[in-house]
């Protein structure tokens, strides 16, 4: 059993639905993004395209972030999800330096989105749980997945560009899509074995 994701770049329209539904699910503090959409253009006018690259923690098979963690706060669940135990994190940020995909964020102090107003009722309920002084990142919406739901970014994607499932099961939708569409990972040369695959546009 290994949770994984396939992101279909043909379907993705760069709407930021994943980035913002993630924020809504987790109430991440300002400047912290478990999921993001990167935009880049390719080519020269007029032969040019805007390209969208939605990113999140890639839940590597051999996660460099886990290797460098001095407290085992960063760890890998048996189902392949790379997670952070905030109570163990000392905030050394070595994992940020180790992550080849820049998917870790340092939450340096308690902070809210409306300056000078303190937390909104929503932030009191959802954001204040996050400890300060520790590193944060995506955990494939572990609570949702354990409750039988899909991760927020997958469930919400309006273009239906994200698929979530068991990479170890060759019959799962993700496995089949990756095989049929020639899914690839980012920076495979690093040998980290990401669990997030991209389906070419």
């Amino acid at each position: 059993m290994r949770w994984g994701m396939a992101i279909d770049l043909k379907r993705c329209i760069g709407c930021y639905g994943c980035q913002l539904s993630c924020k809504a699910e987790h109430g991440t503090p300002p400047g912290v993004f478990f999921a993001r959409v990167l935009k880049q253009e390719e080519g020269r006018y007029p032969t040019v395209r805007q390209l969208f690259l939605p990113v999140l923690c890639f839940h590597c098979d051999d996660p460099p972030c886990v290797d460098v963690c001095p407290t085992e706060a960063s760890f890998k669940w048996p189902d392949g999800v790379v997670d952070i135990d905030a109570e163990k994190c000392v905030g050394c940020r070595a994992c940020m330096m180790a992550c080849p995909y820049t998917q870790r964020y340092y939450h340096d102090e308690e902070q809210f989105y409306f300056p000078g107003n303190g937390p909104t009722p929503y932030e009191r309920a959802r954001s204040q749980r996050h400890e300060a002084g520790v590193v944060m990142k995506c955990n494939f919406c572990r609570d949702r997945v354990r409750a039988g739901k899909q991760p927020a970014c997958v469930a919400n994607c309006p273009a239906i560009a994200r698929y979530f499932g068991d990479l170890d099961d060759p019959t799962s939708e993700v496995s089949r899509l990756i095989k049929d569409r020639g899914g690839y990972t980012l920076h495979p040369e690093l040998g980290t074995g990401p669990a997030v695959y991209y389906l070419p546009p």
Binding site: C15, L20, F114
Partner: protein, 868 residues
Amino acid sequence: MEVVSEVTPTCGARDDVWIPSTCGLCYGTCSILAHRVDEVLIKLEGNPDSAVGKGRLCGKGVSGLMTHYDPNRVRVPLRRTNPVKGIGIDPGWKEISWDEALDEVAERLRKLRAEDPRKLFIQRTTTVTSSRTPMQVFAGAFGTPNRSSAGGGLHCGNGAHLISGIMHASWSVVPDFQYCNYAVYFGASKGHGAGHASCSNMGMAADARARGMKMVVVDPMCNFAAAKATEWVPLRVGTDAALALAMCNVMVNELGIFDAPYLRAKTNAAYLIGPDKLYMRDVASGKPLVWDSSVNEARAYDAAKPDDMALEGDFTVNGVSCRPAFQLLKTHLARFTPEWAEPITTIPAKDIRRLGTEFGHEARVGSTIVIEGVTVPYRPVAAIAFRGSQGHMNSVYNFLAVDLLNQLVGSADMAGGCLGFNPASHGHPETGRPRYIPKPGPDGLMVTGSWMAHHVPYPIREPRLPEELGMQDLFVLCQTSPFSDSADREEMWKKFELPYRPEILLNYGTNLLMSIANRETVAKSLTQFKFIVSFDLFLTESSEFADIVLPDCDYLESVDSRPNFPFIFSLPGGMGEWCWPIKQPTVKPEGEQRRSSEVLIELADRIGMREDLNAAYNAILKLEGPFRLQSDRKYSYEEVCDAELKTNFGAERGLEWFKNNGLIKWPKKPEEVYWRHFVDVRVPIYWEFLPQLGEKIAALAEPRGLKIPRHYYEPLPDWIPCPAHDDPGSDRDLFAFYYRDIIHTNSFTMENPWLDEAARLDPFSYTIAMNAETGRRKGIEDGDEVWIESRAGRRVKGIVHLTEAVHPEGLGIAACAGHWGDGMPIAKGKGVFFNDLLELDFDHVSPVNLNLDLCVKVKVTRAKGARR
């Protein structure tokens, strides 16, 4: 019927519920589930049971709680203490009680109504669709014809919506994503950005891409739709009609591709046109004539079999030589060669020829398809236009030229073609409601079955000396008018002897200062109101001109029985399901906010127009039988909603049922989706009424000193340049234009800190997109701060983002940012205030539908010392 979700608490006394409702971050109004725990909303998700959004939301929708819980929301009624009004002038707000506020507003309105109800001007934002019904009702009951939808209406309503109405009986058009193979987008982003049915369309467009639909996007900027296109065709801003006409010409005159049976049966192509550009008419019945080739004589259009109608040729009827409209069109098109269009559009002629050829061939004229056992014509091509292409003085022709592509190959509302959003509905299987079908009107031309307001686009009104301050009764093809705010409005009113002047503005949520055009002009018009009362969520730049601000409940605190009705607006088109969700309160307001719908009822009561209000509700909601409101009773808005739901879906399905179930849905039938094949109506490929209309308007206008340029009133579309194209200034060498960003709605969402943050991370949202080579030529680097200056000397500042993805002459700006007020502190100072460049007067609007020209020729200079 579907049971959507259990809303009773899931565990013991603890409050933990998922409440089905409707999003309010834009007019797309997707269905949501709001998760409330211990009286606090902690999550918004799409409602997977609904056809509207299908359980998925855009970035704006999922961010709604940051708007809802914004501490900057207005919480109590406010009264200004400073009588002086102006931009940046502190109104000196004083908190007052609701009673004080309502007393004063009601007293003023009561007096005004007794004096002359037309002096009330009512205006609402397009963002909050739930305000449509209460405001329409209030206006009708009060007796004022003066209503406006602010910037949204003036920027797209008059062109895209009006012509979609005339040609497709709907508010907008969209490719039939399930069957279309080749779609050409002209300044539109359907399925790739904001707007009507946006989330549903995103999913359907992605399915279409995965299926292999080719998409050609004609746009000065490569973003959103263009980013996902098979081919991006950059063109000079505002020249869409030239390209579309040249493509039509290639199809009709070079390749001989057109759908003759469709043109004969579903359009006025066979109507005979005399030398006066008007229909030849049957003397007895007055009906337009066609040439019946089976008997070789002219007959009324409804007396001849379509197959026998001549589309081409010269005929003589009663001694008058005449030709079918199609013959005129064909001849008319001949001059729009690709070579003619190339220097106008900057698109190489060979590409134009190729695009026309591809469109013609992909149309598969003559083919049919069986859908759910029903055989319908199969035309898997669609030409789609929206705000971008029609936002010019040539608004009507730009949109019409694009739609001609659909009409010529018969793909309008056929399988795989260009669909209106749900123009026909046979109603719920149990009640037969809501039922509407386009029907033939005067001259056999189509009258919509459903419309967003009660001025249907066709038949058009007879122009008259205006009684409406927007002069929509003179310029009858206009829906939202510039003259409520324009620089020349007083001059126009004088010229046209408007018998009164507006005195009170009832504003609902619009930030007019930012959403129409340059703020100086708008501010001047706002200061001329004697009294302004404004329902607001935030103190916007425009609320600063109000005398009384009433704090409104937001979408999560309000009720609406019809968030997706009329279906022509935000319910996804194509096959699938009919779906009628409601909006319901999910939490109580934290301050003293009240629902505007209830406040309007209370005001009506205090004004003494309860009966009128109830009558208007009966009329607008089409309440029937036992559910009609009684004249003399005061109803709450929830009761009104209950009545509408019961009228439509039966006594057992009232508001309570909907609160529990969220929505009702039932399958669409091919006969509804592809209604055009089954309904005997025609649309005009030849706008015979236009020259007549031009003459009638001119007859009123020209004696009063307003010249009506008749070349905009020809029956067949043409390319007419924008003022920007004719700007002689040599240092003004770029066309600034705006586009709607995927993460922002009008000027509203920049205050949402999640969306603001996302926009700041985006390369384009808050910057000015300039072609990289153009930048190099001008010595402007990425990140430079620049001034953009128009011919009129209006200047806006912004940060340049150099990109390959924009036409070298274009300057792309996401509207409509650039807040400066303190009432929305997150939004303040973010992005570029494009609209401040726009002139607002008769010279900058379409002389036909008064749609504002949204492109500006500008000079760009580096701001001093600015380099980041």
